[in-house]
Symmetry: C2
Subunit: 188 residues, 2 copies
DNA sequence: ACCTGAACACCGTTCAAGT
DNA sequence: ACCTGAACACCGTTCAAGT
């Protein structure tokens, strides 16, 4: 039965996380969707259009929607703690982010990645401002926290079994959230 | 004139950093080296063999040799500070690391990446032990520092112009090195 | 409106033949 | 020992033809 642009884009997002930008390949996707390449070229002008749609979908899912969910907590300390926990859990869910970073030499990937990065940094900076960090320091604090967030995810992907015991992992995440809190604030 | 395995592998490492695992492609490399695909298949059994050689070369350059250079400083605090500075500078030099992380679903990439990660963590853990961090804490400290190190690099690749002024960048790196120092130690 | 199927160019791989 | 050049399979792209 008839496929839509969305069907192709969803499948492409899965492929992006699995095999990087190169994984967004028309023929393999067509096979997986049980259709032909000709079908694809009805919905999209070319592969580049699918890539653009996939990057947009990734931005929507992993940035726009995540920020909305976190903001619903309405307590800056809890929001920070949730981000700290999400750094590790999120890395398990998918490595689309890793794929986009690796593809940063591609102008299309770079554009989306920069927008996502700035949106996330701005969100964090606002959080620190709400936590009464001096206006001049909130940006620095945000960058440090975001670097730690990114690194936690990357470390997990690089060495999934690195923390042998659940206890080690708890200590690691607790310490990470502590580092993300502004001085004088206990984690929520 | 006659090419060697090394010539191909060096070119492949450049391609890996530029275009990811998929960038290690026989025909484009042959074109760049001014030769034919047939030449490649004299030196290598197949593309997979070139990929393996490239990952080994990456490990050698970006882990083995880096650790040797850092260790030559012979002062744990200076070594940590050098690593902190290198986190940012290194990200500019190449994103082979990002390519390998993104390719972590590939068993060959994952194997090398895990070995590199454990080697680096063990090096950091020894550094913290030399800095008199309690034996039970050095591992945790190492993981936090390495996550921050990775994240700094990834943040730079994601948003190269994020720190508008050189002053902002200095503050960022100074704070990062401070976070990497064990409590009670001033940066070198 | 949506899809199939055949065509062609590009890259991985093989291999017989050249120097 | 090292390389060329032709061959073939796979995927991006096009397009005429089908429902």
């Amino acid at each position: 039965m008839a496929l839509s642009k969305i069907d192709w884009t969803e499948a492409a997002l899965v492929a992006l996380a699995r095999d990087g930008l190169a994984g967004i390949a028309v023929e393999p996707l067509a096979r997986r969707l049980g259709t032909t390449k000709g079908s694809f070229y009805w919905h999209f002008a070319h592969r580049a259009e699918l890539i653009a749609a996939t990057l947009e979908l990734w931005e929507q899912r992993d940035t726009t929607e995540v920020i909305n969910r976190i903001q619903a907590l309405c307590d800056p300390r809890e929001e920070l703690a949730a981000l700290g926990a999400g750094a590790y859990a999120g890395a398990a869910r998918g490595n689309a982010h890793a794929a986009v970073v690796a593809a940063a030499s591609d102008p299309r990937a770079r554009t989306v990645l920069e927008r996502v990065t700035r949106t996330r940094l701005a969100f964090l900076e606002r959080l620190y401002t709400e936590l009464c960090v001096a206006a001049g320091q909130a940006g620095l604090q945000a960058r440090l926290a975001y670097a730690l967030y990114l690194g936690i995810g990357e470390l997990r992907r690089a060495d999934p079994d690195g923390a042998r015991t659940g206890h080690e992992l708890d200590d690691f995440l607790t310490s990470a959230v502590e580092l993300m809190m502004p001085p004088g604030f206990a984690p929520a």
